[in-house]
Amino acid sequence: MRDTLDTTEEISTGRRQFTQGVAALGGLAIAPGVFLYHAAGAKPDDQAVSSQQRWGMLVNTNNCHEECDACVTACNEENGVWSLGRPETDAQWIRKLNVRDRQTGHVTSMPMMCQHCEHPPCVDVCPTRASFRREDGIVLVNKHTCIGCRYCMMACPYKARSFIHEPLQDQLPHSPRGKGCVESCTLCVHKVDQGDNTTACAEACAEEGHEALLFGDLNDPESEISKRLEKYGGTQIRADLGLNTGVRYQGI
């Protein structure tokens, strides 16, 4: 895992420019340290998302427990990702990995999901542009245009995507899913758009008292996630691929 350590890369090329922009627009400050764009967490329904935000996640593997899968259960519940009784083909938006160091025997436990890459290979290969990156950094499949070719599944270095092989029913209104399309973690886009500023997995992890998952805006230097990343750093898995992932890990 040594070559995954890359602490030098900028989280987003837009970040530095953006903070400079805010400094220039000092008049927008409501009070010291409080800027208008903070309100953007709960954007009005009729407003399109913008690249002012880049949503991301920080996973502190030191807090993640080997036997706990609260994040996985919460994700399945939240998005209606039910098992059809065949684990080989069941969809999986988030899964737990336990990595054992053969030398020391130390086990590192962590959740793995779509890393919401800034340069996503899944988007590069999609013939219909169904796989796309939203302005705010969330990578999604537009199931209206997905033809189910599964190129994106092949291209994703993190095995983050699943194909739906069978007809489904009783999908949840905010999480449409169905046969013939590829899907993956949406970073709880429906929650993000209503300004929850968290995801189902992060909430569940906090409820367990583990606090291993932190959701937030990587473009906002005042957000908890940015502050922690600035202070302690965060590793990208397979940083060598230069994808600038929105999901960062600590303790690996």
Binding site: K43, D45, D46, Q47, A48, V49, G80, W82, S83, L84, G85, R86, F132, R134, E135, D136, L140, N142, K143, H144, P167, L168, Q169, D170, Q171, L172, P173, H174, P176, R177, G178, K179, C181, V189, D193, Q194
Partner: protein
């Protein structure tokens, strides 16, 4: 027009919508326009929602379902596979086959959550699930 007029009179056992969106137009747009062109509004809106993250309710499919799909006297919400489902009642009459509800919820969230209660959850035997789905395609071939 005549055809749609007949449907408006339609099967009587379809529960009425939750509310009038507007006293004059009744629905989000005038009823005559909605009957003929609702899909164009939904189509336009879906791209705004999926790609741009615009979440207004007015022309959203969730908004349609929330208002139009209401429980019958026994408190049961119709599925799209049943004639008493608001959308299905007209689509069946007009011989329109759509695939919206292969992915989208055909009932409001509260009805889906009810159907997903642990005992009747989608983890039910696969055979049973497949039978239900066969039924839902059967309506269109009968």
């Amino acid at each position: 027009m005549l055809m749609f007029g007949t449907v408006a009179a339609g099967p009587e056992n379809i529960p009425p919508p939750k509310a009038k969106y507007d006293e004059d137009t009744l629905c989000v747009e005038p009823v005559e326009i909605m009957r003929r062109q609702h899909f164009e509004y939904i189509l336009d809106h879906r791209d705004r929602t999926v790609i741009e993250g615009i979440r207004t309710k007015k022309h959203s499919l969730i908004g349609c379902i929330d208002c139009h799909i209401t429980p019958n006297d026994e408190g049961v919400y119709a599925r799209y596979s049943q004639e008493t489902h608001f959308c299905a009642s007209c689509h069946q009459f007009a011989a329109v086959r759509i695939d919206c509800f292969q992915c989208h919820a055909d009932r409001p969230a509260e009805a889906i959550r009810e159907a997903l209660k642990p005992d009747q959850h989608a983890r039910r035997p696969v055979q049973e699930l497949l039978e239900t789905l066969q039924f839902s395609t059967a309506v269109f071939t009968k």
